[in-house]
Structures are given as C-alpha cells and as structure tokens.
Subunit: 599 residues, 2 copies
C-alpha cells in the first residue's frame, strides 16, 4: 500500500481559502466552471495518481528503462499510467474547449498535476513535458504546425520533450553547436548532439516531438543566433498521420542517482544527414520561445520538489505517529511503555520544519500558477501586467526555494525514520534521491540566482520588487487585525525592509562592477526566498485565523496547525536572513579574491 | 582511474604543523617513533588505500553482497583489500608491540584509517569495526578472552562487530530484549534478534566476533540491566583455534541507499537455544563498556563523514579546474572561449564551502584523536584528566558536525558537477548517498544533541566548557599576534561568550524543566559545533601564518588557501550562530506546544 500522496485538506485550503479560485469562475474563460467542477477535476487526478501512478513508484526506481541498442523498454505500469492520464484529458486540462481541453484555470490544472508528482515524479514527467511542449507550439507554432501536432500532443498520442543541453554547453546555451541548414522545401536539416533529454526515447506513445534549439548558419554568435525547431521522432504528414522514421538516434541512456523511471537520453540528430526539423516562429528567436517553456518548466520543477518533500513529510508523520521509541528526558522508568516518536521534541522539530517547507513551498508554487491565470485573465490591463511582473520575479524563487528546502524536508523525513529511513524498504530514501535533481535541471541554483538578482530585481527599474512590497503590505495590514499575527506582521515588514536595503547596496555595487555585484547572488536568492516564504506563511495564517473565527470545530486542528507552523517559521527560519543580508551588504569578495591555486 | 583520495599536504599540515605529533615521540610509549616512521605508516596506508580500496568503490556499490539463504557472497576485491590492510599490520596499528602492534599514536593511526575511509568507506568498515571491537576486548576482557580473541582480531584472522540495536528498540537501548541465561559452565545462552549489524556476516575472515548487548534475567530494568557478551560466529577453543558453528543465524541482509558494500544484517541469536556467549567484565555493566567502543565509533563516524566529503571536494575541484563552461557576468562575446568552471564566483563559493567543511571537520576529528593520545600518555595527571574531559565534550560534535556539513559538502560537489554530478558515471552521487548514513548510526543527530547539552555541557559543573574556553583563549592570544587574524580572534571570543551566555539561560531552564531545557538541543549542537569549528580554523590559520612567515615559496599557495578559507568561515558561517543562540535563549517551546493532532 503506497503512502498517502497529499493532505487534501491543505490542498483545498490553499486553492480555495488562500487563493480564492472560486473568484476565477466569474471570468469569461472559466464561466462554465464552479467550485464543484474544480473539485471534480482534483478528485479525478487524485484517484488516477493514487491508483495508477503511486503503486509503481518504487518498482520503476528499481527497474530502470533498458536500451538494447534498438529499443527502449520499461515496466508496463508506466504506459498504463500515462494512458490513464491522457484518457482523463489531463494533458489538455487548461487548453481551449475547441482543442478538446477543459479550460481549467492554471491554478487547478497545476494542483491536479501536483498530485501526480507526489505519486510518481518520474512517470509524471512524461505527460508533464508534453504539456509544456504543447504550450510552446500552441503559442508560437504556425497554424499548420498546430494542426499537425497539437491534437496528437494534447490527446497523448504523441509525447513531447525539450532538447536544449549539449555535452559541451551545460548551462551555457550560447555555446550550443547543433546546426539547422535550410532545405529548399522550407524544412531544415538538423545536425548535432543533445544530452540529458528527459523522455527523449520510449515506446509509450506513437511518436515523440522534440523541441530542439539549433543554430541556422550565418546567424549571430551566441544566444542571438539560436532558433527553435520541431523535430519529431517519426515524420508527421500534414493530416497528422505518422510517417517514416526521422534521423534522430538514441545513442544512450543516462543512469542517474534518482528519477530513474524517466528515460534520460543522449540523442544524435542527423547522423545520416537526414534529420528534418521545422522552424518554429522566426529564425534566431528560439531562445525567447524556449524561455516561455522554460519558465513554465521552472515552476514545474519547484512544484515537483515540493511534492517529493510533501510525500516524504506525510510518510514521516505517519511513521512518527505509529512507532514507539524511547521516553521523555527525565522519564527513566524502563518498565513504562515507550512513547511514540512524535512525542519527542526533536522529532516534532523535524516535522514542523518539513511542514513549513512543503506547505510553504506548495503555497508559493500554487501562487505562481494563480499569477499565470491573473496574467491571462486578470480584469484590467494593469492587473495582467502586474501579474506578469510578479511572475517573472518569483519564478527563480519558485524553482529554487523548494529545490533546496523540500530536499531538506526529504533529508529530515529520512532522519525521522532513523535507520529504517536509510533502507530501500521505506520510501523516503527514494524521495531524497529523486529530489536531488531539482537544484540542477532547468537552470541550476546559481543560474536562478543570477536571473533573480541580475535581471528580475533590476528590471523596469525595480518595479517588480516595489510591487511585491505593496502585496506584502496588504498582507501585513490583514494580519495586523489578529493579535497573534502582529509579531509576524512586524517581522515581515522588517525583513522586507532589510531586503530592500540590501538591494540598494548591491545596486550601487553593480553599477561599478557587475562581477562583484553578482558574486554573492546565491545568498541573495536564499535570503529573498525565505522572506517570500514568510509572506506566503503569513497569508496562510490570515486565512487560518479567518477560518478559526468561523468556529468550525472540524477544522480547528488544521487551522491551529497552520498558525503554529507560521509561528515556527517566523521564529526559527526568518531570522536566518539577517546574517545573510549583512553578508550581502558587506559586498564580501571572498569568492573573487580566492585564487584557483589556493584551493 | 579513481579520484585522488587526499590532499596529502593538508594531512601533513594538520598532523605535524597543527597537532605537532613530533612532540609525542618524546613520550615513553612512542619513543621508538620519529617523524619518519609516522610518514612511513601514512605512506603505507596511502598506497594500500589507493591501490586496493579505491578501485572497487563504485563496483562494490553497484554489486551489493548477496545472501542465498546459506552464504553471503560479494565481489572478490573486498577480501583482497581487507587482507592487504591486515597484512600491513594496520588493525593493530596503535596496539602494543607485544601484541604485534606498532604502538603508533592514535592521531597517526586515525590519519592512516582516514585514507581508507576516503578510498572506500564500505570496505574500510570491516577492519574499522574490528579495531573498535578489539579495543573493547583489550580493555575489558579477561586474560583468557584476550588470549583467545585478540591475536586473531589484531591480525585480521577474525573480524568483529558491535551488536546493539534491536528492531523494537532503535535509539532506546534500555528497551532491548535479548537475554543471556547463565549456564553451569560459566557461559551464557544468548537469545534475541539484532538489526542493522554492519559486517554481521561475510566470508572475509575465518570467524566473526560479535560484541552483543543482552540482559541477564533478574537484573534491573533499563540500561542498568544490560551486560556485554562475546558471541563468535564459530566457537573458539581456548588456544584460539576455530571450533564448531555457534547458533547465530543471518536472517537477512538489509538493502540501503548507500554504503552498499558493507553487509548490514539482521541476526538471530539462539534460534535453536544453542547460542553461547561469554560475559565481558562484570554483569550489568555492559553499556558502560560498550560506550567505550561507541565513543570511539562516534569519532570514527565523524571521520568517515569528513572523508566522504573530502573525496567529493577533491573530485569537484578537479572537475571545476578542467571543465570549460560559460563566461563571466558581462562577458557576452560568444566567440571568446568558455572559461573554466572554477572562474565563476558561485562555483568558488561552493568550493570554499566544501574546503571549509571538510578540512575543518578533519581538523576536529584529528584533534579528538590527539586528545586520546593526550588522555593516555599526557605528561601530568591534570593533562590526562583534562584531555579526557575535552574528549567527552567534543565527541558528540566530532560525530555530528561532519555528518551534517560534510554531507552538505557532498551536496555541493554534485552541484559543481551540474547534470553530470547526478549521474552514476561520476563518483560524487555515491559519496552523497554513502554519507547520508552518518547522521543516523552510532546515535542520531538528536541523540548527540541530548548527550552534548544534557550531559557533557553540564558534567563536573561545566568544567569541560570552562576548559574549552581556556584553550580557545590560548588560540585567540596566538592569533592576535597576526594582524589579519585579529578580526577572527575577536569574533571567536564574542561567539564563545554568546555560547556561554546561552548555556547560562538553558541551565536555569533545565533546573525547572528538563523537557523545555532540552527541547532545542539540536540547535545548540549545531551552534556550538560551528563555534568549535571556527576555533579549529583559527588554529589552522595561526599555523598557516607561522608557515608563511618562514617564507617557503613552495607552500605559499597552500598557506594562503588556509588563511582565506578561515576568513570565509568567519564571514559566511560563524555569523549563523547569532540567530541560533537568540532562539535558544528565548527557550522557544514550539516543539512542545505543537500538538500531534495539528500536523
């Protein structure tokens, strides 16, 4: 029997009480929806995730996909699971009715997807990548391309990938060398090698649609010469039928520490000079298109990290409630029965931390999904623009914070289990291994830090940070109505002022010396992330205080939990930012003045 | 070709320049030794570790020991390696000449052992456990037992284990249920089940000597009723020859996330009522004997954690020096070649952190080994007593700090490698998996925290802390002679005063309420640990400054590195303790007032 995949009460609290998704149903795009249709979608996802995804999570980890030089094979449960996902219409969850979609808000669609990530992150990544791939074609593809590829992708007949990384150019996309030579018929001949392509080969679907970054000869060097191509495994006729094999070759599977159920591939394009690609949009604009997919994927990575942490937390909680072990300090009578693990202060510390990290991270990722809805359907142009600004600002945090702290939650989940947690008989060691990928892919921690400090904080002359400040202020005002939240409201105000002060220092430095100004960007990312999560927790606490005021005894324990974890975060975690900000303001140059020869 | 296993310059710096082990050669026990004999022992260990242990580290991970219901089999390289270890006399390294030992100081013996832990922690654990086992028998065994078992253990003809843990009593030894019924011939009949027994079965040696905790019927409940027994796999005649099989059964191997090369076993004692054990020392004093082994094992765990971190750091450093990737911020010219990873500030941050964690942790573990030497051979009774006090105080730190921060070093080593670090083609993912055991075994992080705060800080009315304060003061005085170290000297003084102040607050609380006083013991362990490592780094910096003053250009880079990493630790890490101490002084009761139902 697999572990529980979610605290459903928390999910609905976040979606309905904190984010008020009911309000979205007044918007034209979601007019057919109600709370009930949202809950029905969540129920469907919950059932399929529990019944089709969770049961083979460990089996897929222990039985990696195999490549015999010709075909990739994997355990049969993966295909059954992704088929059920596709059949339920979940790939098209947020797409238009006319494309067979459900026109669900992104918030609900992402909440649905989160359940699959909790149940089985490796299997969920196949349809997850397909969703992101289809979104790019939907947004930037030509009408012909949309007709050719979208119905097949959205129905799960084809799956999709994103093929960016090359062996010699990991984080440095400007150094990719894959080329795309124009053919007389308007197609391009693709030639090059890609690495770490998730879902890059398999027989789960009739076809695989790769979105490939390549350079058209004669373009500018660096990122300005990158274009985006659709490169299917099998060529596709204009009517959408699958044609002959394209010249895309699997050269090998990559064996990883975790996330073993997903094929990670090395692909060779055009070994025989016969690899056909179709240009998406205009030449040399590929990176900006891909960034659309990548921003979505980054939030998806954050959500995946959250859900691995969440699943581990639920397992640890269950274990701590059930396992008798030891006695309280001072209780030396060995004839008394042992108490449950959860009675120990240090075990509660680890559970409080996990709950704070995973529910806080979940709150941030769901909030960014809500911003996507607001960006596309907000009631005024200002609202839509501001949602976009905030989304840009928070994307690196939504990617990185859960990748760091929900991995730490997995670490603590192992620790709660003691020696058993280190064995492969329990699930938590796999979550820890799976989650270790998240600080790396879709832009490493360090890349996110440069994006946040070098670009997002500075864009539009600091407008996004100013906007976040206003939103925080609103929350602070709401929280101040509750006496028990007033200390937190004051603490958040002070912590954010400290961040703003820090940004001023860094801005001055940046003007003189970009290298020094950005040298400690990772520390800024981590400090800023903690303040953002403190804000998310304050929002949760306000909603919990409102809920408690309604005096529903069924929910009292749940709301008390929210209030106490908020308090915990403000007392245990937020104060860590003081030392970080002080370090940042000192413009410490340790990393620059340490010479390579001194290591 | 396996990675480098050590920075030999650092090892010799630590052993000879910081700890001045040359001075030990003036003591009677080590009178035959010189710097040259110490270096020769290190050379021998270095060669065997590199040639016999490192090459099969990954192979043993990928090919776990198998149990077919009768026999345990494993890859042949393990036996070759441990045989080479035994043949070099390394099991008896610190034992008396008359036992075939080398009478090496513990500092040198542990430095030798550290090289094997770096090379292959799983294979090294077989002789490592044997050393600890032999030390218990040497100290507490009867003359007959010593004659029967010691020569075989010290020569590697038998290997040893420690069998404490039972399925229903993980950290709570008072709840073990294994019994030992006295037989008319003076032996005992052992009956019970043990779990997580490392090295509990194999065919590496002719016999396996288990040291087993069990209760003699009629004894006190709890830990005061625990006795210690020698329980060999094969009975041993008084002349040391191996006799018939004892009734000890392997009921299964445990499959772990890492450390896969070491058998982790479930053992059943006395299934047929025929398991013979010999009492060690007096009845009901087993736990105190076992703690002798356990304290040694705890420092050994810390050293293992250090070496896994060290090996990962060296791999990351090598990768960062060799791999071209990206360009500096602002350097946008894609036609320029990419720079090496080590040129990026964020990569240097990760390398600085790793160097600080692993060399600092190594310093602490080697210092505790030096305290063992001082405790046994110190020149005055006061010196010996004080060394024992400091050793008691620092043992939980030497166990926990590396287990936390050198695991973090492994995390960073993966991150430096990017996507490649997450694959099983590179070594760093294995180090990370292996190291995750260390915060669990030989007393979890939380258990160490209770030991430190509840026992060690409070013992002899705070004498150990007072003693540490004096030693820190001495280092502060030495450091103050160097202008560049003066800020660190002041910072250490302030940080230690903050710890002492915190201890006073907790002491008052403890007097009223042990549960509240100890509730945040883990935070204390972590804060105290950082201050101890800051002190270790200051000692290194003083030695480096002295070295630099000698103007040897060959070593200038090495010494500069030490000075810069010390500075890094004081600017980046030590300030974290402020928020921790503030939290501790607030006697935050979050973990006690959070009700189980609120999670």
């Amino acid at each position: 029997m697999p572990d529980t995949i979610i605290n459903r009460r928390d999910l609905e609290f976040q979606v309905f009480e904190v984010l008020d998704t009911d309000a979205l149903t007044t918007r034209a795009r979601y007019a057919d929806h109600t709370r009930e249709t949202f809950v029905a979608a969540l129920d469907t996802a919950h059932t399929i995730a529990t019944e089709k995804f969770a049961p083979h999570n460990r089996k897929a980890d222990a039985n990696e996909p195999l490549f015999d030089g010709q075909r990739v094979t994997m355990i049969a449960e993966v295909k059954e699971a992704v088929q059920a996902f596709s059949d339920a219409g979940l790939i098209a969850a947020s797409h238009d009715y006319e494309l067979g979609g459900m026109q669900l808000p992104e918030t609900i669609a992402q909440a649905c997807l989160s359940l699959f990530k909790s149940a089985n992150v490796a299997t969920a990544s196949y349809p997850g990548l397909t969703i992101a791939n289809a979104n790019v074609i939907s947004r930037f593809g030509s009408p012909v391309q949309k007709k050719k590829y979208l119905p097949a992708l959205l129905s799960g007949r084809f799956f999709g990938t994103m093929a960016l990384t090359e062996p010699q150019a990991g984080s440095s996309l400007s150094d990719i060398t894959t080329t795309a030579a124009p053919n007389p018929d308007g197609t391009y001949s693709i030639r090059g090698n890609k690495i770490f392509i998730s879902g890059g080969d398999h027989e789960l679907t009739e076809n695989i649609v790769h979105l490939v970054l390549a350079k058209i000869p004669g373009g500018a060097p660096g990122v300005k010469g990158i274009s985006l191509f659709i490169v299917p495994k099998f060529l596709v006729n204009d009517d959408g039928a699958t044609g002959p094999r394209n010249d895309v070759t699997l050269t090998g599977l990559i064996h990883k520490m975790g996330w073993r159920g997903t094929t990670s591939t090395m692909l060779s394009f055009g070994e025989k000079g016969q690899c056909i690609g179709e240009l998406v949009g205009e030449p040399h604009k590929g990176l900006s298109y891909m960034f659309h997919m990548m921003n979505e994927a980054r939030i998806g990575v954050g959500m995946g990290a959250v859900m691995l942490g969440y699943r581990g937390y639920l397992a640890a909680l269950d274990y701590a409630r059930g396992r008798p072990q030891g006695r309280a300090p001072g209780a030396k009578n060995a004839l008394e029965p042992q108490v449950k693990l959860i009675e120990h202060a240090d075990v509660r510390r680890m559970l409080l931390a996990q709950k704070a990290y995973v529910e806080g991270g979940y709150g941030l990722c769901l909030y960014t999904s809500w911003l996507v809805d607001e960006q596309s359907t907000g009631e005024t142009e200002t609202a839509r623009h501001e949602a976009g600004l905030l989304l840009d600002l928070l994307t690196p945090v939504a990617k990185s914070w859960p990748s760091q702290w929900c991995l730490e939650a997995n670490n603590l989940a192992i620790q709660v289990h003691g020696g058993y947690g280190y064995t492969r008989e329990y699930s938590v060691e796999q979550f820890y291994r799976d989650n270790r990928l998240n600080p790396i892919h879709e832009g490493t921690h360090g890349i996110q830090a440069l994006d946040l400090l070098g670009r997002k904080i500075m864009m539009e002359n600091g407008a996004a940070l100013e906007l976040l400040s206003r939103h925080m202020h609103d929350s602070i005002v709401l929280a101040s109505a509750y006496e028990q939240l007033q200390p937190h409201a004051r603490a958040l105000k002070a912590a954010f002022a400290d961040i703003q002060n820090t940004v001023q220092h860094i801005k001055s430095a940046l003007a003189d010396d970009a290298v020094l100004g950005l040298a400690n960007a990772s520390v800024f990312l981590e400090s800023f992330g903690h303040v953002v999560i403190a804000w998310i927790w304050l929002r949760h606490a306000v909603a919990a205080a409102e809920g408690l005021a309604k005096n529903n005894p069924v929910d009292a324990d749940f709301y008390q939990g929210k209030l106490r974890v908020c308090r915990w975060f403000y007392q245990w975690e937020l104060p860590k930012t003081e030392a970080q900000n002080k370090l940042l303001r000192s413009l410490d140059d340790s990393t620059l003045t340490m010479e390579a020869a001194w290591f």
